[in-house]
Amino acid sequence: MTGNVWVVAEQWRGHLSEITYETLALGREVADGLGVPLTAVLAGSGIQELAQTLGCADSVLYVDHPLLAEPIPELCAEALAQLIEARKPCALLVPLTNVSLGVGTLVATRLGNSAVNFCKDIQIVDGKLRAICVMYGGKIEAAVEPAGGLAIVGVWPGARPADKGRSERSPSIEEATVTLEDTRVRLKRYIDPEAGDVDLTKQDVLVAVGRGIQSRDNIALAEELAHALGGEVAGSRPVIDQGWLPLSRQVGKSGLAVKPKLYVALGISGAPEHIEGMKDSALIVAVNSDAGAPIFNVAHYGIVGDVLETLPALTEAIAARKTAGHHA
């Protein structure tokens, strides 16, 4: 294949999102595997300084246009399409997040090209790009090869560790121009969430407590862990029944059905009524003093131990890791 591998750098409200670096890390491997350069494409308005952090790529294509200040999928797609027509990359990796959803499809249809969605990994097979995609709610893995000249691939979060996509290197930055017309879709304002307004079904991380938490006071320990992981506290029925957590925090048959990226079940035995509400979580970690607790049949990782001892140790370990890995 000829032509560069392009990665769309996702910018939102003045920052580059984590998935940008994850996708760059993936893009780096793909570009190296194909023996072509890697280009990061950054589109926005007045955000050129963000391009400096994209050194994992060999070059950055920067497009500045007032209409690209906020990521409106139609406009982003139109800009990308124009750049692609001019420069003919061989692959375009687009993040699959709320910010960028739809961009990959629109670029593909605008160019009369195919698109591949749900990608978690890319392999190079016989000099061609093969996307490994996770479909049907995570149950099925499909290996897909896009036909034709340009592979447009939508990439899930977590395809590669973000750290692998960060680099101290200064990339070469090239400015490009596009022609855009005013859109029929206009962002008026952002509405930030109220403090205390928590919808468990929208959380990526949940730290759930069961009877093993033993008292209302110990819930504070769970809250610390949740905070360290960027998530929220949830509870199984007995905890809510005791009044230790409000009804809005209940997970299970009688509560909410949740599918977070990480579900930590602390002192929860794993009764079917609870499992019903969280079994589709992407990663389930359970801590319970009972080695025979049914929760271990659905968890991916399990720890047999005292919740009240394990919990603070875990919070500490995570805080330590974050401090060590934090970039100023």
Partner: protein, 393 residues
Amino acid sequence: MATCPATLEELPRYPEGKEILTCLQCGMCSGTCPYGDVMDYPPRRMIAMMRAGMLEKVFTSDSLLSCVACYACMAKCPRGIRLTEILLPLMKEQTLTHLPELPSELQRALQNTLRYGNPMGEPSRKRAAWVKTAGVPIRIFSEDRRPADTLWFVECYTSYYPRGQDTCRATAKLFHKLGIDFAILGNEEKCAGECGRLTWEPGLFETLMDYNMAVFQKYEFNRIVTSCPHAHNAFKNRYPALGFNWGLEHTTPFLGRHLAQLKPLLTRKSNYTVTYHDSCCLGRQNEFYEAPRQLLQAIPGVKLVEMTHNRVNSICCGGGGGGMWLDTYFKAKGYERLSERRVKEAAATGADVLAVSCPYEVSRFEDALKVLGYDKRVIVRDVTELLAEAMEE
């Protein structure tokens, strides 16, 4: 009953409807109703509103969500008005169409039952998965079409929930030891639908009834024995309208009939003090009070004690009438869960074991015991589990 009124409009033309008009307004129903003190319209008031032409008010209140279809009102009514069987389901059907939003857990349960044949939303292809762990051979009709004497209708909670499967395995063991010629429907089995009927959804019930009758007619058997008292009710009271004419028994009275054969097999002595919870459908509705007690007393070493409210006065576990899926709703309203009320009585008897005979009760009572912190003092066992335990060497 061959036919019964399908709508409130039809009701006055039926004997049952005329009966309702003979209500004395004595209040026995509301007084005995476990949630009578918190309902806006307990049965007595509902009938008064009906006579006053003000039923609209009843339908637009969520009062009927608190009815757990426990038959207590019907059992006590001096006029014998068929409250739980006729009036209340019709009222609930109307309330369903008037409620702006159905509590989501109940909605999910109804949708799952329609789609997957069980309220939990488990795949139909896993319904007979427990058979592999039964420890005794279990014949499945779709795999072996020879006639059997008995069709064992296992039902949903018994098939899918781990504690329910414990009961299944115990039942299978007992059937095997008694030499019963039985088969099950396996993955072809779907919920009998009784909780759909008493829970707002006659359309769902009809769909399930149509399906089940079609499946029954594929195979040859003489009787149906079922582990679920709710299924027993549906088969007894409603299915005959579509031609159901097989013998019918719930496992507990069925085993009770085989007591003479069973007793010599119960060799293991236990030191349990057992109190028996009369389930609403088996007890009040069908008056099967003594068979379960006789079975328990046949177990060597068992001492039987009674709770304050026993037999016709038994307190419902709260699972009927949709209550199984309305715990969150009740909690939000600040009502005491009936299962908690009941296990407090059980614990007060000093019993080690709370014996039950309905699949709902196992999970509801175990849950309540955990919440109240009694779970080290009292365990819950289905009668069949206790019998099977007593058979072990």
